[in-house]
């Protein structure tokens, strides 16, 4: 088995995503998958896991290699809170078991990647803050937070990672651009990483995204 690059996507499906935002998220995310399919390195090594979070937290796509990945429909309830903390907890337990560390008879995975997309803020703030150190201990190659839309709070994502992108809107164009950038970040990874070194991200596209 060759080295895998694991990418975890935590996607906000809380009530506020109803309507155009959830459609844009579906378009953007499935577009991302199509883009990655054309990248030979990603086709060789990328494995994707998708966790959605609203009132409930679901691993709607368990870890799947890109070649076998099927189009997915992300749905959201009509209303309800944003359980980002519970999503981080699920992430920790999944990544904890899925990630293969190198040993003398098995190749270790590349450092995994984490993308957290939200249009609001954690409703379970205490749980969220408690999970942050556990997420950091997993030693992700890069964690990208994305605060999308006018109500998204950057500050909570900043507690999780320095790499936070702010999107002014959650329309199709903005999300498509964002996921294009995600695609190039994934392609940049899966390269030789020095011990303890952090991966660089590609420059964000134009004025759409402000990495703060």
């Amino acid at each position: 088995m060759n080295r895998r690059l694991l990418a975890y996507f935590l996607l906000d499906t809380s009530g506020s995503m109803q309507g155009e935002p959830i459609q844009a998220l579906n378009n953007g995310f499935n577009g991302l998958i199509s883009m990655l399919r054309a990248d030979p390195q990603a086709m060789d090594s990328l494995h994707i896991s998708v966790i959605t979070f609203d009132k409930e937290v679901k691993n709607i796509v368990p870890l799947t290699d890109l070649a076998s990945f099927q189009p997915v429909e992300i749905k959201c309830p009509e209303s309800g809170p944003t359980h980002t903390g519970a999503a981080l907890e699920m992430l920790c337990s999944l990544a904890g078991t899925e990630l293969v560390k190198g040993s003398s008879d098995r190749k270790g995975d590349w450092k995994p990647l984490l993308f957290v997309f939200t249009d609001g803020k954690p409703s379970d703030l205490q749980q969220y803050r408690a999970a942050i150190p556990r997420v950091k201990a997993l030693d992700f190659g890069v964690i990208v937070g994305c605060a999308a839309g006018p109500k998204a709070e950057v500050s909570f994502l900043k507690e999780l990672t320095d790499e936070v992108a702010k999107l002014d809107t959650t329309d199709v164009n903005t999300l498509t651009t964002f996921f294009k950038w995600v695609s190039s970040s994934i392609e940049m990874n899966g390269k030789s990483q020095g011990t303890g070194e952090h991966m660089a991200l590609p420059p964000p596209p134009g004025e759409l995204i402000i990495v703060v």
Partner: protein, 474 residues
Amino acid sequence: MIVETFLKQLLSESNIAPDKFSDSTVARLTHNAKINELAKSITAARKLALTIFHMYKETEEFKDSQVILPNAVSRKYYEYRFDLSLFPNISIREIKNLDKTGLTFDAASAMICGIPTAALSIDLQVLFTSSQENNEVEDIKVIPFIVNADPKDLWLNKPSNRNDLFAKEDSDKYAGSFLDKRIVVASQRGRSHAHEGTFRDDHFCVRKLPLEWEIIAVADGAGSAKFSRQGSKIATEYIAESFNDELLLKELGDQCVHFFCPETIATPGNNPETGPSPDDLTIKIKSSIINILYKNVRSLHTALADFAGKEEIQLKDLNTTLIFALVKKFNFGYVVLTFGVGDCPVNIITENPRDIRLLNMLDIGDFGGGTRFVTMPEIFSHSNMASRFGINKFEHFSKLILMTDGIYDPKFVTENKLEDKDAWANFLEDLNGQNEDGLKVDFLQEEGIQDQLLLWLNFWSKGNHDDRTLAIIY
């Protein structure tokens, strides 16, 4: 009986309360031909309506059911059979859009098969019917279908920019004599770099030195470092040149003779009872040898730091691993002095083809790609620094091999296989032409062997597209 039930149900549905006349009327009508006929036809009509209802319901259920067609791969045979066991009344007539994929559908066996022509992503329109008795309804179920590209088709081969800073050839090769043996080396830019049009980060350097010493150095620049292509070039060339020093090699040669033939140590006036014990002496000589090697590695580090300073770049932009073997043939055998930092191995196969040894310590991180570099100052202060050096003697050897992880990842997978006899037997067979492409490196022919090795380096291995450098002394 049917008529009686029918009439009673009709009366109750029409809110006609039972009384003494209704019972007798019902009894009388059970034998009425007209009522009998009506009851039969209504029952039949109800049954038919129910059948139609179920038929439509089944189509709805089928449309909503999750049918997953596994993704196909371009130009690779594909086969999928629909499992309709949960939908006994449904049959698939045809699949629209399927012709665009190059696959065909056989309705009798409910099977899709064939060889997809090209990568695409498409919504298949599955035309199906649900039929019961003589009734039939037609509907369409949409199933997404993906044909992945053959990964081999996705790799581009873009030339690197010759005008860029520290430009480097995409491949390099060398063949020649090495002591009383031959050496062949080839280095090839990996597909991952070719795809992006970036440079090969590997480098090697072979050099003949004074006093019949020779050196081969191989380095693998870190993919994440901006100018590692230059780091690996400096590392190999500088270290080789640093041993181009007759005085140093004289001293080194003497120490090696002392180390391997302790009886040659001149000990004038030495009192066996007060002088150092033979063990102490050996340790002393060993540390002198290591010290000589250490100084040159240390000065390489300084040279890299100076270069970074001069070019106004960061030292870590030059991150590179390094292995080398400094070899001389003495009358008691070949002395092979090695050093390694990073994850590239130096292996020797002695005169016994099953006797294979790994001559250096490898740095393998917890995660893929996590290794150490000669550019890292901390390696020099670490307690394991001395164990990075190897002092070995072999009366004979059949092959001395240095490689970058671009070779050993696909061919040996993990470090513990680097002393595995079967893994090595397979590797040598592979070099001998036992591979998909039938490419052979003929060690019996001097002419063109470097070209053969360079071609061989193009082997295909899923997930392994790093730069590849392989040096063999034989």
